[in-house]
């Protein structure tokens, strides 16, 4: 068997609205292997969270998976009912959300939230689950576990809370962790610690990680491969070092310009003018064409797409835009 943990094929997420169907995720395909961190990057509204929620089966109605498939280690997991999904969420897929201040239930001790999750998925006795909770807290780097396990979330700092959230994601040794902007709400000094922790866990346990962020810098430091999203579509997919060194999609080049430490490697240093189109106003052809300095006639006619490493850009795919 291959070691592909997450296999997304032609995924499409739609929101039926009164004014028509909005496509938040448009035909994306990607894979993540054991022990690999795939960084997903893009501006706010690009469809990153929707992709993560689709994987977790947590799309809020009326949002729905309209096409494509999601496989987890060979098992198809899209379109399962809530009961079947409960056996996957937290057990085979762990989640880390953006804001550790709001991810934890304020009225329950962190230890109780850990024990609850562990017991839901493993059937361990209360005392054994508690011992495991302590191990996990220790593993994610929480000091003085004996004292802290009975504290409430508000008694922890943001960084420590995010460590607890990560411990919660690890309760059942999941195959995949979906981390949606796990460092965005944290101080810069804490961000590096959290990404380092994710990286260590991924390496030590062989967990596959989908790391969603709008910060190319985080990706460059943490991920093995990167998926660049634009207006619900995949703009570019490939190994991080290659893409950072030589981006093939004009939008990716623009994103690189936003990382101070990488600027010397890029010709065009200025940020891309304009902004990402709203879902109800995506132009025909390449969604990026109104902002692209290379855009040609073909870019306004036909949509470039990729389902394997590469750049969804006519210039990169065909060498010309006429």
């Amino acid at each position: 068997m291959s070691d592909i943990v997450l296999d997304i094929r032609n995924l499409r997420v739609e929101f039926p609205t009164r004014k028509g169907v909005l496509t938040a995720v448009d035909d994306i395909s990607l894979q993540i292997r054991r022990g690999e961190i795939l960084g997903m990057v893009g501006e706010s509204g690009a469809g990153k969270s929707m992709t993560g929620m689709a994987i977790l089966g947590l799309l809020e109605p009326p949002g729905r998976i309209a096409a494509g498939s999601i496989h987890l280690s060979g098992d198809r997991i899209d379109g399962l009912d809530d009961r079947a999904l409960q056996a996957i969420r937290g057990r085979r897929i762990g989640a880390v959300f953006q804001d550790p201040l709001t991810s934890l239930n304020p009225l329950f001790r962190v230890g109780d939230q850990l024990v609850e999750t562990i017991r839901l998925h493993t059937g361990l006795s209360r005392s054994r689950a508690r011992a495991r909770a302590k191990d996990l807290m220790h593993e994610v780097g929480i000091p003085a576990v004996e004292e802290r396990i009975d504290s409430y979330p508000h008694q922890f700092s943001g960084g420590m809370r995010q460590r607890i959230v990560i411990a919660l994601a690890l309760c059942a040794e999941p195959e995949l962790i979906v981390a949606d902007e796990p460092t965005t709400a944290l101080d810069v000094s804490i961000q590096a610690q959290i990404t380092a922790l994710l990286r260590r866990l991924c390496r030590e346990r062989g967990t596959a990680v989908l790391l969603v962020t709008h910060d190319m810098g985080v990706i460059a430091e943490t991920a093995d491969r990167v998926a660049v999203m634009y207006a619900g579509r995949l703009a570019e997919l490939g190994p991080v070092d290659e893409i950072v060194r030589r981006p093939n999609h004009p939008y990716t080049s623009g994103l690189m310009g936003s990382i101070p430490s990488l600027r010397k490697d890029v010709d065009e240093l200025q940020m891309i003018p304009g902004s990402m189109p709203r879902l109800d106003a995506i132009p025909p052809g390449c969604a990026f064409n109104p902002r692209c300095t290379h855009a040609g006639p073909r870019c306004r006619r036909e949509t470039p797409r990729i389902d394997s490493p590469g750049a969804a850009c006519w210039l990169a795919l065909e060498g010309e835009v006429a």
């Binding site: 409960q86 959300f97 239930n105 008694q155």
Partner: protein
């Protein structure tokens, strides 16, 4: 926590002193107590003697202090109307009202909370929408109308439940309870249900609104992402976060219920404090009115204090004042 408790207690004591001042002013200056107490044949000397004996010639502060001291000991003087000790009258009537309000409150919580959760969770279902509509009716129906309808239905037509009185009561010390006899419990049903209808709809609508809010929060989504089953997410994680406002509402409303009980007691001929108060008003029985005012205020204040303390118990964030500063490090 100790400092918090002391602060709350001091607040409560201060409020009670202020209310006592009001009650005292009513007692002392609305009509002349001496005129109210003596009969027509009393001589000027008799009146002067009574005035002196009641201490009405003393300074204002002295009299107020004496009023408070007496009140704390449960001494509110003699009823003008039937010359009975006011405290005896109150002790006689208080258990009836207390049990009525208590049972109405329990009904409103036991029925209102689950209805609120269900209407929030299944907000698109027909049943939830019907309940929501019904709750509007429940809020707008005056409680005496509900009472009369209940009497017509369950008492007059069906003959299942008594329409008036308390039934048999059992004496436990000075407390007379109707909860221990079948007829006492039967008599309690209709008035309690009538008193609680408004309350049920209030609790239900509050829980529904809070649940809708809470179900959208990150920690609920995260609980689901951890694999917590939907029912457990709703009834444990979400509901617990909705209880705070319910506690406040219940605490505040118990005071209102005692006031509403006035109407219910009249409709059901319930021998409680509400009836006592109405009689007192009719006869300008100032000592009884002053005692009623103080007692109802005391209940309000005690409930408020209990609500505050319960808050701290339900929500750990309010327990220690160091909470907010503690969040910055650690």
């Amino acid at each position: 926590m100790i400092a918090f408790l002391i602060k709350r207690m001091a607040n409560a004591a201060f409020v009670m002193l202020a209310v006592a001042l009001l009650a005292f002013v009513i007692f002392r200056f609305f009509g002349d107590p001496v005129e109210m107490m003596v009969n027509e044949q009393a001589t000027q000397a008799d009146r002067a003697e009574l005035r002196e004996r009641l201490g009405l010639n003393d300074g204002f502060a002295t009299q107020y202090a004496r009023f408070v001291t007496n009140a704390v000991q449960g001494d509110f003087g003699i009823s003008y109307r039937n010359q009975q000790d006011v405290m005896v009258l109150i002790k006689d009537r208080f258990p009836a009202t207390f049990e009525l309000v208590l049972v109405a409150t329990v009904i409103s919580l036991v029925v209102g909370i689950p209805l609120g959760v269900i209407t929030a969770v299944h907000r698109r279902s027909r049943l939830a929408q019907a309940l929501q509509l019904g709750s509007i009716v429940g809020v707008s129906l005056p409680s005496f109308v509900v009472g009369i309808l209940l009497i017509l239905g369950f008492s007059v037509s069906l003959g299942w439940l008594p329409a008036f009185g308390r039934g048999e009561t059992v004496q436990i010390g000075w407390w007379s309870t109707g909860l221990l006899t079948p007829s006492g419990r039967a008599a309690l049903v209709l008035p309690a249900v009538s008193l609680s209808t408004f309350q049920i709809t209030l609790v239900m609508r509050l829980v529904r609104a809070e649940m809708l809010e809470t179900l959208r929060s990150d920690y609920i989504k995260f609980a689901r992402a951890r694999g917590v089953p939907a029912a457990r997410v709703q009834w444990r994680h979400a509901l617990r976060n909705c209880l705070m406002p319910v506690i406040t509402l219940t605490g505040m409303q118990i005071g209102n219920l005692i006031a509403f009980a006035l109407v219910t007691e009249t409709v059901f001929q319930w021998p409680g404090m509400g009836m006592l108060f109405i009689q007192a008003v009719t006869f300008v029985d100032i000592p009884v009115m002053a005692a009623y005012l103080l007692l109802v205020s005391l209940i309000f204040v005690v409930l408020n204090t209990v609500v505050d303390i319960t808050y701290a118990w339900v929500d750990p964030r309010l327990r220690d004042d160091s909470a907010r500063s503690g969040g910055a490090h650690g």
